[in-house]
């Protein structure tokens, strides 16, 4: 019962998504705001400023390198968390 209600609600949300999609810029639009506001600088100046022809690499590891630090920390956290969850024997395990 609740499952069916959930599915109905999700279908309604899907209709909302579809309606909203009509207000988005169409796929592949050169005039979309996302293509005009911030990213042109990366395309035009990335090589000059970082000597890296791969713009994705320049954005990832230089312009937004702090995000990448966060990413590295997230993945290391995953390792530490796995050790903390599975690799440690603690007294409460026997309870």
């Amino acid at each position: 019962m609740i499952k069916k209600a959930t599915v109905v609600v999700l279908i309604l949300v899907g209709l909302l998504f579809s309606y909203v999609a009509l207000s988005l810029p169409p796929t592949g639009d050169h005039e979309a705001p996302a293509a005009l506001h911030v990213s042109p600088r990366y395309i035009e100046k990335a090589y000059e400023e970082t000597k890296t022809p791969n713009m994705v690499c320049a954005v990832l590891a230089d312009y937004r390198s702090y995000d990448t630090l966060g990413e590295t920390v997230v993945i290391v956290v995953a390792g530490i968390a796995t050790v903390f969850i599975l690799g440690v024997r603690r007294p409460s395990d026997e309870a």
Binding site: L16, F17, Y19, V20, S23, L24, P25, A32, P33, A34, A35, L36, H37, V38, S39, R41, Y42, D62, Y63, R64, S65, Y66, D67, G70, E71, V73, V74, V76, V77, A78, I80, A81, V83, F84, I85, G87, V88, R89, R90, P91, S92, D93, A95
Partner: protein
């Protein structure tokens, strides 16, 4: 070095957190000393940054990697963000001191990973508070959430189930936030908060995309805040998590999410178009949540579960303040973020101390507790006063501002809800206090030795008692100096300056 304070307060716990699993394999004593030192250093950095922004009187922008904001990432420290970070660092230091006895007989590997996860949670939360970039907020949200899931899971079998349910719900929430951010990005092409403040207003009026973006972000952050119908993860999580972890997570995590909600709705979206409707809906949900949480708290016998449900209610106060949305209510909401962090952390420290010393969790078993633990229970009374909203504690002033704001806005239903909730809170806290104090007065009726195990009759060890006392004094001091707090710190964080 003072020029780098905003980043140092993140990097110090981050670096120490990454180093501690390695260091713990060499020497656990050294690790503990260094961890405490780094927590203190974090506190120092945060306090220094706070002081500097107070001197400058405006927000302080720090460009990471030296790139100017819309292209790079910036950190923005305003007085409230600095203040919140000081509070987070302080609570982290206090909780780490308190955690000492809990970790005594554990393996070095467990100690090292525990310290690592704890410090990385601190770094993640502090990064969320001061970041000026929407995507960076997501990354740090994930850091602090992932560490929290792992820390929660250390409380035994049931805690593991609570942790994985929290993980699934919380990651779905983060996904929703990210999709909402995608809708914002597709319409503006920017990720920087200050930049979005300029770009968004023309779009807010009539674009259906913004409605969806606002709703998705509200749902995502609402789950993290544990707003009423989305609070499902909270009671289980809070009942089974070990106390030192819980005191920090319960104190800070939901509040930081609420602060992020505040910044996104009031600064990035600037309360235009769909945001005000969403806020109104959230206000009604919060009112329902306050009543629901309070009533459920009365129904609990377990102290921890009672505190968990009271958290649902108290967090809803903050959202209610945001929903009312005038200056007084916003001051109340922001002050309540501070007040509830300190008080809830304190209450869980006390609950954890009682459990650690006597093994008791249920309120009816607390008979005579006040004679055995006079200091702890004394502080419990202060904390309860703050939760109920009695002067001179900080809880009184935050509720006072909230009620004043509701009266000014003419929202009488909200006034009624706030007052009713205070009464309900009084009921469930007085019940606990009654069992701890009054019933214990008649030892001939209930022999305390029969109720409490052999280890009882002792006050907590100093390492656990000092944090409790410090926070207890803090609750009163914050209450006494609330006016300075409002005029110096919170006033500058309002979307408009007070007249």
């Amino acid at each position: 070095m003072t020029a780098h304070l905003p980043i140092l307060m993140i990097v110090v716990p981050l670096a120490m957190g990454l180093a501690s699993p390695v260091l713990a394999m060499l020497s656990t004593r050294l690790t503990r000393a260094l961890v405490l030192l780094s927590a203190a250093a974090t506190l120092g950095c945060a306090a220094g940054a706070l002081q500097r922004t107070l001197e400058m009187g405006e927000s302080w922008s720090y460009w990471l990697a030296g790139w100017p904001p819309p292209w790079g990432i910036e950190y923005v420290v305003d007085p409230l963000a600095g203040g919140l970070n000081t509070l987070i660092a302080f609570l982290a230091l206090v909780t780490l001191v308190y955690a000492g006895p809990y970790l005594e007989k554990r393996t070095p590997l467990e100690k090292g990973t525990f310290y690592a996860l704890f410090l990385l949670t601190v770094a993640g939360l502090m990064g969320m508070v001061i970041t000026g970039d929407m995507f960076n907020l997501y990354v740090f949200l994930e850091i602090c959430s992932l560490t929290a899931y792992a820390l929660i899971a250390s409380g035994g079998r049931r805690a593991t189930v609570a942790a994985i349910r929290y993980l699934i719900i919380g990651s779905a929430a983060a996904c929703m936030y990210l999709l909402g951010l995608g809708y914002v990005h597709v319409m503006t092409g920017s990720l920087n908060m200050a930049d979005l403040m300029v770009l968004l207003p023309p779009l807010m009026a009539d674009s259906p995309v913004m409605v969806l973006a606002v709703v998705l972000m509200a749902a995502g952050l609402g789950i993290k805040v544990a707003l009423f119908p989305l609070h499902g993860w909270l009671p289980d999580t809070y009942s089974y998590t070990p106390a030192p972890v819980l005191a920090f997570i319960a104190a800070v995590m939901t509040k930081v999410a609420a602060y992020a909600l505040y910044r996104i709705f009031f600064f990035v979206f600037a309360v235009a178009g769909p945001v005000s409707v969403t806020l109104e809906v959230m206000g009604w949900l919060a009112a329902a949540g306050i009543l629901f949480g309070s009533i459920m708290a009365i129904a609990q016998r377990d102290l921890w579960r009672m505190l968990a449900y009271s958290s649902v209610a108290q967090v809803a106060y903050i959202v209610l303040g945001l929903a009312i949305g005038n200056s007084l209510a916003l001051i109340g909401a922001l002050l309540h973020i501070v007040s509830h962090s300190v008080v809830k952390g304190l209450l869980f420290l006390i609950a954890g101390g009682v459990k650690w010393q006597t093994g008791l969790r249920n309120i009816p078993e607390f008979v005579g507790m006040a004679r055995h633990m006079p200091w702890t229970m004394g502080v419990f009374v202060i904390a309860a006063m703050s939760m109920i909203g009695l002067p001179p504690t900080i809880g009184f002033f935050s509720k006072w501002y909230l009620i004043l704001g509701a009266v000014e806005a003419g929202a009488w239903v909200f006034v009624a809800v706030l007052i009713a909730s205070s009464l309900l809170t009084a009921i469930y806290f007085f019940r606990a206090i009654e069992f701890a104090y009054l019933k214990g007065k008649k030892p001939e009726e209930v022999p305390a030795e029969a109720v409490l195990p052999a280890r009882a009759g002792l006050e907590l060890p100093v390492r656990m008692l000092v944090p409790i006392l410090v926070l207890g004094v803090g609750v009163v001091l914050l209450g006494l100096f609330n006016e300075q707090l409002v005029t110096n710190v919170i006033q500058y964080a309002l979307p408009w300056r007070l007249p």
